[in-house]
Symmetry: C2
Subunit: 221 residues, 2 copies
DNA sequence: CGACAAATGCAAACATGTTTCCATTCTCAG
DNA sequence: CTGAGAATGGAAACATGTTTGCATTTGTCG
């Protein structure tokens, strides 16, 4: 209804020690995108990666038929694009502005000078990427072992980060469906079940978390 | 029926330049495992990674209820375990000997000296891990957009690597089912359809690839 | 305010995959 | 050669998710 949807900040930049981080961000260039705008497309040559200063970014893949698969929805403090950048191949995913947002572009030069200055940075990069792989393993496991309501609960908890109960997540059912990997109809049913259990309260364009602990327990079966 | 199932060698070690690779492997310790033996378990502390000298290794996760999710089936020349090793967290997956096999254990010291000697090695590690992430994205996308027969075709092509038509892949339907992420019944049906189309020929404990090109085309829809 | 688009709710027909049995075939050790 | 276990084949009942179509609600903007 009101406020933005701050999410758990993950990714490489936030793991950097404060001074180093500020220095790196200061070297980057700020760019703003409006909601729905394409930030990067699959196949693009990767010459930079991005830090999210404010707003939300959707990471996923658009199929030829208009289908969308969301791998993640990122928020302020998150980083994306390191992957292709580090791997030196073309973009593996599309990135779209989920809301009006301000990003900071970090290019080859900026990162290189950082890595030269501090070997620990490389280590950190490796660590972050390893985490990403783990994440995607978890996604695959979830999609095979968990029911739709459980996966929905998982997605909601991730989106709300460490916000306390009562947090309103600004997201449409369609977006959630793309994220969880089911149709909007199925997602609606799942929402209904979580609502019936008093864990959440669906709204128009947002979802309110009523009982995060219960969601956690629900996932664990 | 006979021969092993050589697969496309992927991973970090095979990407190293010949002399460097031989040097690294020479420093490692060879260990042999018999079929079904557990090589590493989820949660273990990661003090090393492994290079597959010969045989097959299954990478996946065992559920509490005995369910198994296979992420990959690796063969000679492949590497595994770099993930947790690099990320400095505990093992994210289980590894089981898919057949009698010989592995080479590479520990902290060996890798460190390699990284010190050649900074390009670090770059290579990053690249390899980025590829792994891409792979897992592809897996997720496939599980959402492709039919079971298509995913089966994909899995079979990956398993046979670049072997010519006629190759016999030593694998049971149950293993394939765990890999593709469906029940054995569904996998059986999918096999039947590929067979009807003349692309493969199922056997007892193996599958013969009849027309790899057709499989490729079949995946593309 | 009032129209319009976006988002949600709902239902029926349909498609796909699972589960549970059991029969059959194949391989291999003894 | 033969018995036992592993692997495959198949059928029926069931569960889950999709598709399609339309009605309803909500927010926005002129």
């Amino acid at each position: 209804m009101n406020g933005p949807a701050p999410m758990a900040a993950t990714g490489f930049v936030m793991a950097l020690p404060g001074p180093v981080r500020r220095d790196l961000l200061a070297r980057g260039q700020a760019r703003s995108f409006s909601k729905g705008q394409i930030i990067q497309q699959r196949g693009d040559v990767a010459k930079e990666f991005w830090y999210i200063e404010s707003g939300a970014v959707q990471i996923g893949r658009y199929g030829i038929d208009g289908r969308l698969i969301l791998f993640a929805m990122l928020g302020a403090g998150d980083t994306f694009g390191e992957l292709a950048f580090m791997g030196e191949f073309s973009r593996a995913v599309d990135a779209i502005a989920g809301s009006d947002c301000i990003l900071i572009r970090i290019g080859d030069r900026e990162l290189q000078s950082l890595m030269d200055a501090d070997p620990a940075v490389t280590r950190l990069l490796l660590k972050t990427m390893a985490l990403t792989v783990q994440e995607s393993f978890n996604l695959i496991e979830a999609s095979r072992n968990l029911s739709v309501p459980q996966r929905l609960a998982q997605a909601l908890l991730k989106l709300c980060g460490d916000q306390p109960d009562g947090a309103e997540i600004m997201v449409t059912q369609q977006d959630l469906a793309d994220l969880v990997g089911v149709s909007r109809v199925s997602l609606g049913k799942a929402l209904g079940r979580l609502q019936a259990a008093g864990m959440i309260e669906p709204g128009y364009g947002f979802v309110t978390i009523r009982d995060g602990a219960a969601l956690q327990k629900f996932i664990a079966d």
